[in-house]
């Protein structure tokens, strides 16, 4: 069991800056995120898109913002638990006991939910019969590409993942690439490669088609794909891969007894605390009158939630407000020299 002053759920910009705020005031913290990298929506949804409304930064991309936030955390030693989802939360003698899907357990007086719009999960195929083949013949990510060697693989999607894997797997497998429209959104160079491989017969391309159903008795045998004009084709397939991007789901947070409003968590605007003492929600996931879903709002919310954490983590100490420009203690924590 890992003890910490505060556990942050979500390593997006709000979670990262809140870690900074906690460390500045002398609290330790750990961060859990379901994605395998930090940055949250900034990295997953728009790494290359410029953002124009971060105070004092006229323009930066999601990737640059994430890098800067990590740089700002450099003076501190913070444990990240990436690729892990927080599943369970229960009371334990005045603290919260939090368990991840990988079995890690945290004990903390403060849980800060900075979960954006929930955790990212792959968008799955909609026909119900796909479920029984999931993780056997139908995959949404690839862990071991060797299993596809010499097999027929049908890949669905129009982005980089679909195109990259179509090119890669065409070396040792028969590949069908299926997309719901003629245009692809992946990198042009990869797309050129796909068209080349189509010409040489290495990839069969089916556009304006979507998955209709999958067939097989225990083992996947073939799939039906349906054209926009309703025409149906049957393709022999050993494996099916779906790359439709990630969707965001509130996930287990919905079961923690918090006051929810649609997919957001209700908080007060003093501590950004939820209806449960010691559980805070900040950033896109929180809701209060006047809430703006801006990164800058998340920073403010995190700064206040961090101060609220102090009271529960250090019940016998008094929190003293200090500026980074003048506080000797803060400078020590940052590892910089005092004047």
């Amino acid at each position: 069991m890992r003890k910490t002053d505060a556990l942050i759920i979500g390593a997006g910009p709000t979670g990262l800056f809140t870690a900074h705020q906690l460390k500045i005031i002398g609290l330790d913290c750990e961060i859990v995120d379901n994605l395998d990298k930090v940055g949250g929506q900034c990295i997953e949804l728009y790494p290359d898109k410029p953002i124009y409304d971060i105070p004092a930064i006229p323009e930066c991309t999601g990737e640059e913002l994430t890098k800067n936030l990590l740089d700002q955390l450099k003076p501190f030693n913070i444990n990240f638990h990436l690729g892990e989802r927080v599943d369970e939360l229960k009371k334990n003698d005045g603290n919260w006991e939090v368990k991840t899907n990988k079995g890690k357990i945290f004990l903390t007086p403060n849980v800060i939910i900075a979960g954006g719009v929930g955790s990212f999960e792959p968008r799955k195929f909609s026909p119900k019969e796909c479920k029984q083949f999931e993780d056997k013949s139908i995959f949404y990510s690839i862990k071991n590409k060797k299993i596809f060697e010499g097999k027929t693989v049908s890949i669905f999607g129009g982005g980089d993942s679909a195109l990259d894997w179509a090119v890669e797997l065409s070396k040792n497998s028969k590949v069908n690439l299926i997309h719901r429209r003629d245009e692809f959104r992946g990198a042009q160079a990869t797309l050129d490669k796909v068209y080349e491989l189509k010409k040489s017969g290495k990839i069969k391309l089916f556009t304006k088609y979507q998955l209709k159903t999958v067939k097989g008795n225990g083992i996947l045998e073939s799939i039906d794909i349906e054209h926009e004009n309703k025409e149906i084709k049957n393709l022999k397939s050993d494996y099916v891969l779906g790359f439709f991007g990630l969707i965001m789901q509130l996930g287990p947070i919905a079961n923690w007894g918090l006051n929810l409003n649609k997919k957001t968590v209700e908080v007060d605007t003093e501590k950004f605390e939820t209806n449960q003492k010691g559980i805070y929600a900040i950033g896109d996931i929180c809701n209060y009158p006047g809430k703006l879903k801006l990164i800058l709002s998340g920073f403010h919310e995190g700064a206040l939630a961090a101060r609220a954490c102090f009271k529960l983590a250090r019940p016998n100490e008094k929190y003293r407000f200090e500026f980074t420009t003048s506080s000797k203690k803060i400078k020590e924590r940052l590892g910089v020299k005092s004047d």
């Binding site: 929506q41 949804l45 728009y46 719009v117 968008r123 909609s126 999607g157 129009g158 982005g159 997309h179 719901r180 429209r181 245009e183 959104r185 979507q210 926009e228 439709f244 991007g245 990630l246 969707i247 965001m248 789901q249 649609k262 997919k263 879903k293």
Partner: protein
Amino acid sequence: MAKITYIEHSGKPHTIEVENGLTVMEGAVQNNIPGIDADCGGGMACATCHVYVKEDWFDRVNKKNEGEDDMLDQAFEPKKNSRLSCQITVSDEIDGLIVHLPTKQI
């Protein structure tokens, strides 16, 4: 002002008046019409305000924005007449618009 009908997947219709200049998504959210999530708030960064525009209306609403189809690739069961409702602007010309809502948004 335009009268817009949102038809839930179950078939239940909701007809409301939406002010010009708002989007079809905003009309739904402001009137608590179930079935439109709009997680990103209209930023074309998710696909949770997905609607099917009734065929005869498809060419009468404003054209798709650049990047809209990229997001629709990630929607639940996209079809030929799929749109993100946050990218359809309300005006007098679309008075009477009918949109169908998908089984689910995520």
